[in-house]
Symmetry: C2
Subunit: 428 residues, 2 copies
């Protein structure tokens, strides 16, 4: 019976990052990564918009994101590994009342030295050719859309290639003799008594017990610690042994619109917001979606992560619905950006994210030999490096780990019993 020190279940971005940091920091550990797909990063990571920013109200979100971004730039600039990083910036469009409301967020951001630039309404009109005054637009009034009063640009923000990030972590893990086994579906966690006494009903209620392995379609595998980074599928492994992941899956959709007319082409290449000289990622006032420029594809991604009424449900193959674009997103988008009038969906897909509904922050905790690493709340790519370090530290029973920013992070802060996080107060 082959026994590992750690088996990591799920080769999404959190899984490969955990593996990379396990082997980097503890090269003597024998680590196996398994996934049901034929390769790493083929689940919901592949459907992510892969945007990043360091502008959050929650200091926990800031720490996890900011340090990960620093690491990604280190990988691309110092190690010469192209992650497709584009620091295009993240532009929040605010109404007057919204801007007043977030003043405490901005103040806190300033204290944390998050670089922002504020744009006045007239400046935004000129640069983006957007409608900022919707007060005479009858349909916009029915839709309760607010005027744009200010824009706040988060400078340390943009997007990267989630494929490249997965490859970087996975290659590093393999180079350090990490083992992978794909096309391997984890079917159940194996719970056993710590001391077996040879009774058929084991483990009995009075026996100390722990998870010692995982049953898969390719046999049983055993390890000192089992790490569950199965994202939205984690509950299918953890619920049957009575461990709560604290997260629930929800669908998110991405719609691709091509820059088919001159105005859209002009918009995507808007200059002056960043050195990339293209449109920043944009969130309209009070919005439930954001617009991501994809210059390399000559188009835009419109990402629609959440709204009330989207069920919590596990979907193996979530489907996008064009109606959400036609009736839901486009009517709002075109009020602010008339350039999108008449646009059609060129491509679309749907994934799922694991919602951490108590505080919108990840859960990394150990129970009975299982380390659960879940609930990045749609920020898996943004925070993968930090979360991977914390998960690896927990596997090695460390109390603190150093994030790439140099900050010492208390591992149990992301746990359950001693949880100590700042709930995200800037929900846009």
């Amino acid at each position: 019976m082959s026994k590992f020190d750690v088996i990591v279940i799920g080769a999404g971005v959190l899984g490969v990052s955990t593996c990379y940091h396990l082997k980097t920091n503890f090269p003597e550990k024998r680590v196996l990564l398994i996934d049901k797909m034929p390769a790493a990063g083929q689940g919901n990571t592949s459907k992510s918009a892969a945007c990043f920013r360091n502008f959050y109200y929650s200091s926990t979100n800031f720490l996890l994101s900011d340090a990960s971004i620093n690491f990604y730039f280190h990988v691309q600039n110092d190690l010469g590994y192209d992650l497709g990083l584009k620091k295009v910036g993240y532009l929040f469009l605010f109404s007057d009342s919204q801007y007043k409301e977030i003043s405490r967020v901005l103040k806190k951001m300033n204290q944390m030295e998050v670089e922002t630039r504020t744009y006045e309404r007239s400046d935004l009109e000129e640069r983006l050719e957007i409608e900022t005054d919707l007060s005479a637009d009858e349909e916009a009034q029915i839709m309760k859309l607010e005027n744009v009063d200010k824009g706040v640009l988060n400078v340390k923000a943009g997007y990267l290639s989630s494929d490249a990030l997965i490859r970087f972590f996975e290659e590093g893990f393999k180079r350090l003799n990490g083992e992978t086994l794909y096309n391997t579906r984890a079917e159940r966690l194996i719970l056993e008594s710590e001391v077996r006494i040879g009774i058929p009903q084991e483990p009995l209620v009075w026996q100390d017990k722990r998870i010692i392995g995982v049953s898969t379609n390719r046999g049983d595998f055993y390890a000192e610690k089992l790490v569950v980074t199965a994202g939205t599928w984690s509950n299918t492994l953890l619920d049957p042994v009575g461990i709560d992941s604290h997260v629930k899956p929800k669908k998110r959709q991405v719609f691709v619109v091509k820059a088919t007319n001159d105005k859209l082409k002009h918009l995507i290449h808007t200059k002056g917001f960043s050195e990339e000289n293209c449109l920043p990622i944009i969130i309209p006032p009070n919005s439930f979606f954001f617009l991501k420029p994809m210059t390399e594809e000559n188009g835009f991604w419109i990402v629609y992560p959440n709204y009330l009424g989207v069920p919590f449900e596990l979907l193996d193959d979530p489907q996008p619905h064009e109606n959400y674009f036609v009736y839901g997103l486009r009517p709002v988008l075109t009020r602010y950006f008339p350039q999108f009038t008449g646009t059609r969906v060129f491509n679309m897909w749907a994934g799922q994210r694991e919602c951490s509904t108590q505080d919108q922050l990840p859960y990394v905790f150990e129970e009975a030999g299982v380390v659960s690493v879940n609930g990045a709340h749609g920020r898996g790519v943004k925070q993968a490096d930090s979360i991977g370090r914390i998960a690896a530290g927990l596997c090695a029973e460390q109390d603190y780990v150093e994030l790439y920013s140099g900050i010492e992070f208390r591992v149990r802060d992301l746990g359950v019993a001693e949880r100590n996080v700042e709930r995200e107060g800037f929900i846009i």
Copy 2:
């Protein structure tokens, strides 16, 4: 279309208590209580052990329980409504190391003026005829059972009739013209846009929306607020609209053993622990079950609420398994209480409790017109009066409610966004 102020879904103990306090405090509100069963209290409340105590580490658990107990004694003693209350006490048997560990709990209990009495080992041996020294018992050593060193009796503790409690709340609710509709299964919550504009795809993503009613097998019912007190079934209503109840269902089992021999008859009528002059409820050291005396049935209930490996899963008709008694509970029980040697299960049943896995405390919060009242974590009967007051206060948009103990309780303390509870640290 008949419209209510409040519809309460689920006539378990939390549902009827919420209804009672709604009509008591806000008699002008039109309140409807629905349940899929033919009567109130036929779900998991009917399978509860209905014990109570005020000995907790968490000050939140103490406040909710202590005030409810006061109310139940008021109902029975002042209002003359027999709730079957028996203040038999709750006796924790501790090992030496366990007793040292809980010294901080005991100190805190003292400060909160929780009445306890401590018993020495020799005293316990004499009163209960139990084995306290298992060091020479080979099987007990394999089972890692610890010696009993001290006993701590929680005086304000005992049990009541959950049927009587349900009847009290329900009758009070009906007397105040509360309406009930049983045999009525809530099938889904109705989500609608606040302002309808007559498009088939409504509610659209940009529309403000809220839950306005509930579809049942007997038609649709509408209300200003929908209260979900459906216990372990709550997720089947809340998940589809994307609201997280924050609780998960787990099975618990009750085994009944009759006092068939003289030693057991003697044990059940043990004198000196309370005015009831019977055995207190007892928890052995480090145990996962407790023993409840049922003098009126000439027997004992052995209640087995939880252990690692019991899955989180919703069961409409959970089944008990005699093997859990024979291989799991009896071997432990008989080591401490030789009186139970050779006993058999006379009756048994299983229910489910809603686990609140983050902090073991209830969640009472409003989202989009739905008030979710869940997660009593197996303490529904113990805390029903307090939770019902808090839920009724939330329906009426109050910031604070007065518990029966006279203490002002901040309603949002049991919510999600501004949650402020003390996690239970005394898990036995």
